[in-house]
Symmetry: C2
Subunit: 630 residues, 2 copies
């Protein structure tokens, strides 16, 4: 089954010299990207007959005999809201906006909603609507630009076409607009192939300019807005850039597990994964309820333990309150036992069984979690295949409401065998610059829009990064620099061993170095057990890449390859050694110096776009307490 | 911070004409890939001084005065086991193999383990070891080929170098072996930069030829075996091929959420995600135990529902058994209610409270799961951005022990707006062929190894797919074909409406069509609610791509874009409509025809490599009841 091979234009439209527009391989339409992202704005295609499909971003209706066709301002609005419907009657506007008025009109006028092309005054009559021309700005998501589509009211009822968000598939001729204006080309429709209507009063994007934080309530609709669409295209491009960088440098892509038994580095709170679902729990609860009586055995065992406790408390020097509380508690339990025994209808062991059930009956016969980091797993592949990376979701049950943290975030994790801290720093720096350069080169139109709408500095910011070099500075040096600061008082005092705060970091990047810095060799207390101990026995081989006006985007480390050093760290920190035996194995057999780093992908998108809340760059963000609708 | 720019050779070594070997950008060594994957096997680099690092795959020691250096057979063993140590003394062999004998020798001989180069007879003496030459086959994971490294015993103790799995970093001169043999070049080491020893008696890969199923117990070590390393390189390449295909065709990469509130399609068992830990659950169980009484309200509500069910069953034409069962069930509940009311000591709402407590106190204030499929989420992005795909882990708590199923599998999900079933079938077919072609072109060495070691037909099989066309055949036609079969009796009878079994499918691909087939338009009962209803109102627009000797690799569908049709399906199947309101919204506002498909990525790797168990192609597989060590 062969597909039409005419899509080379999709990836590099500007480079193509053909003047014939081809349909997209897998649907009977032309992608707007192939048409609009030409240097001439698509002018070379004038006169061609094409099909395009997309969603109405803004619209306007003009009564015939038509005045010179207006040029809609293609101003890439955040909400994709409508521009003014100057020519639409006031009654119609109210009808489409306020359901109540519509209902009244329906009762009095008997017209089906949505009525359109009625006379502007007086009650609606079943006369044919006045002819008009509809101007639609249509976007199909493939590019930031919209195409102006001109539809005569004889082709389709304007009331169906005009609402923002309406989906259309139309055939027509590409032509130059008769009046000069913003648009280079427009499509004169002569066949409507599909209309997907919008129930305007229910559609959340009908309103003008819905702010980003409100859009978060409609994750399934927000990619229809120009801003979120642009951000998601940039995100997608960065994702491909990531794979391209590592492919080019001979890395292997390793999919580390999401479900894991290890809590990794104790770096954060974990989500538990289980198949003992609540229903089962509930049923268990109900079942237990339905057993008339409670477990006597359990209570007796509890009473015995409580009794022991009381004895111990009495013998020890514990305070009087504790003793009294323990005695009271014991008394209560004993009373319950007496009551039950009196009734004589106990069903033992129920509760005891419930206690034991959980892990062994669970899917994996043990406690499992969602991974916080694939670092440890990735190391084992680096110690076999050399250079590896992983790009996937990582999870943290963090309840703090931070604009840079979500429960589910994608990370790029990298690990290289035969590589030391400096190698890892070089690779991280190259990767970071590669991403910045990639976006400037491949997302030109979207970056222009982002610069216009979100952050005017964003292009300049990225260019500076591409052409400047990062400053490498040790933690020791950083502390010295900060100690000498006299023009500013930091909230957290600066002294050796302190964790650098956002305040410290931004002072360093924004006022001292004025470019990205790489801070390396941190105090061991600040870092996980597996970072390589330096010869000073005080610092470990870790680094952070800190970017001006933003903060840390990449963290990395050389990891401890010496068995004796790492086992003593495990011991020192009181970690459960048995959980890490497999990881220590890597040092036991064929160990090698290795280093790597982690880029928090969502933060990279945030940095590039200049947005401030990570929830706006994640397709379906997950946060504490926010029950997603999907 | 500039990195050495000399790595273009990494991606296409054969095409480069330079004769100077460069170090890998991020470590001070040459990747074996850049050396060994040349058409001349690296001969052009003879005379160059390089550093290489890797792990010993097999080894041999030869006493001096040396006989002509032996040529180790580079036979790409599954286990990376040692070849014969003919020149190593029997005592030494036993010492290295059997800890017990080593201990005895240590007690009697007082020598430190591992002793080496002792005289062959008599107790060990502190005399200097006899000079020898060590031949190591070293692999670094970048390619399937190994490099022979020759080390004089004066440089490092052979006992440290010889064990399989030892890590070395050596500097030396590339030369042609003095004796003719399998190797085109070898490295004569003159500087040992690092040795990572192996504790042979503990190292699971010390044994010869560890079978794949045993290797599964060592997921952190198994990429060091030639087979698993090859499979993982192929897997990595397929991953990049996936992104390349969709990038080339103008798709956007959308990361759908892993944690979700919807159970998607009711396609399988879900994992629950929670932060309420087991201890808390247990305490809750115990607390509820101690409340004497059960929820009358709950029981009454249940009784009411059950009563309704009985009525419905009576009115419908349902079979008699179902009616009797429902009546019995109702009776039981009513009895329980009577008992409780008689006792008159009910504490209402307790159980109800228990029902509600769990979710509201959980991280997301509601019940959440690991996603089974990103389909629904992806659709919402297709209905805004046009052509989208997602590549990520999906989860199914399936307890059946299938060689093609794991709890955590990666999937490629694709969705296109303005596309119908045929578009989706075309795209799936192209994608499938693209992957096959890619592997043949980019993984030549690994595929040769796989053909040699795992499946001799694999290359031929892929070539056939690339050059043949898939047969498109409807479910109706398939049933007709199968009904006409006389030479075989199927376990499941063939009649319209039946689900096609593995037996049916393999008969069709292997005996009837003898090539990949695409079966489309399945009975609606066999498919999820959101597949588009065909005009016959009996079948839906679904398809499966079935491959000879393997089975289904891709499943796809056109999805229902008509609001009335999909809501009636939701109702018909008794699905909780409130959970799907966001999804129905897509049909309410700006709906469009759209279609897509899913490729189970792990199965694709399985198909390509000819392996039989999916656990062998997943880096860290997760299965029912198997508590992973990591």
């Amino acid at each position: 089954m062969a597909s039409e091979e005419a899509t080379a234009t999709v990836t590099s439209p500007a480079a193509t010299t053909t003047t014939k527009l081809f349909n997209y391989s897998y649907s009977n339409r032309v992608l707007l990207k192939t048409l609009m992202e030409r240097s001439d704005g698509g002018l070379q295609f004038v006169g061609q007959r094409i099909v395009i499909g997309g969603w109405v971003k803004s619209s306007k209706e003009v009564r015939k005999p038509s005045p010179p066709p207006p040029q809609l301002a293609d101003d890439h609005r955040v909400d994709g809201g409508e521009t003014k419907h100057k020519d639409v009657s006031c009654v119609e506007m109210l009808q489409s906006r306020i359901p109540f008025i519509r209902s009244i009109l329906e009762v009095f006028g008997g017209s089906a909603y949505p009525p359109r092309k009625k006379q502007e005054y007086g009650p609606p009559k079943p006369t044919p609507p006045l002819p008009s021309t509809v101007y639609l700005l249509v976007t199909d998501g493939s590019t930031v630009a919209s195409l102006q589509v001109v539809v005569d009211s004889s082709l389709a009822s304007p009331s169906k076409l005009l609402p923002t968000g309406t989906c259309i598939l139309v055939e027509g001729l590409l032509k130059q607009p008769s009046a000069k204006g913003k648009h280079v080309i427009e499509l004169e429709a002569d066949k409507i192939l599909h209309i997907g209507i919008v129930e305007s009063d229910l559609y959340p994007l009908s309103k003008k300019r819905v702010p980003l934080d409100m859009l978060r309530d409609y994750p399934h609709f927000r990619p229809r807005t120009t801003t979120v669409a642009s951000v998601m295209r940039i995100r997608s491009s960065l994702s491909f850039a990531t794979h391209s960088f590592f492919e080019h440098h001979g890395f292997l892509d390793v999919q580390v597990p999401i479900i894991t038994t290890s809590d990794c580095e104790g770096l954060g709170k974990l989500f538990r994964v289980t198949t003992l679902d609540q229903k089962a729990d509930k049923e268990k609860l109900n079942t237990i309820h339905e057993i008339e009586g409670i477990s006597l055995e359990t209570l007796k065992a509890a009473a015995k333990e409580k009794s022991n406790l009381v004895e111990i408390l009495k013998r020890s020097d514990s305070n009087r309150e504790a003793q009294i509380a323990a005695i009271k508690d014991l008394k209560k339990t004993n009373e319950l036992i007496s009551q039950l025994e009196a009734k004589g209808k106990t069903k033992p062991a129920t509760s005891l069984k419930a206690d034991k059930v959980d892990s062994s009956e669970d899917f994996f016969s043990c406690q499992t979690y969602l991974t916080i980091s694939g670092h440890l797993h990735l190391e084992s592949y680096a110690c076999a295949l050399g250079n590896v990376y992983s790009f996937g979701p990582r999870f943290q049950a963090d309840k703090t409401d931070s604009a840079k943290q979500a429960a589910e975030m994608w990370m790029v994790e990298v690990e290289m065998a035969f590589a030391q801290l400096e190698d890892s720093m070089n690779c991280a720096d190259d990767f970071f610059k590669y991403l910045c350069k990639w976006v400037l080169e491949k997302c030109t139109e979207d970056m222009k829009f982002v610069a216009k709408r979100i952050d005017i500095t964003c292009i300049n910011r990225l260019q500076q990064i591409v052409f400047s070099s990062s400053e490498m500075v040790s933690y020791n040096e950083v502390i010295d620099v900060l100690k000498r600061v006299t023009d500013k008082k930091f909230e957290r005092n600066v002294e050796w061993g302190v964790c650098l705060t956002t305040e410290h970091l931004s002072y360093l990047t924004d006022y001292v170095f004025k470019k990205p810095i790489m801070i390396y060799n941190y105090p061991k207390e600040a870092k996980p057990f597996f970072f390589r101990m330096n010869d000073d026995m005080k610092t470990v081989a870790a680094f952070d890449l800190v970017v001006p006006k933003f903060g840390v985007v990449i963290s990395g480390s050389q990891n401890e390859e010496r068995l004796d050093m790492i086992t003593s760290r495990v011991k020192e920190l009181g970690l459960p050694r048995e959980k890490y035996e497999w990881y220590l194995d890597l040092r036991r057999h064929g160990t090698v110096k290795h280093s790597g780093f982690t880029l928090r992908f969502d933060l990279m998108v945030l940095f590039i776009t200049g947005l401030t809340n990570v929830r706006d760059v994640i397709p379906f963000p997950r946060s504490y307490g926010k029950a997603a609708i999907n």
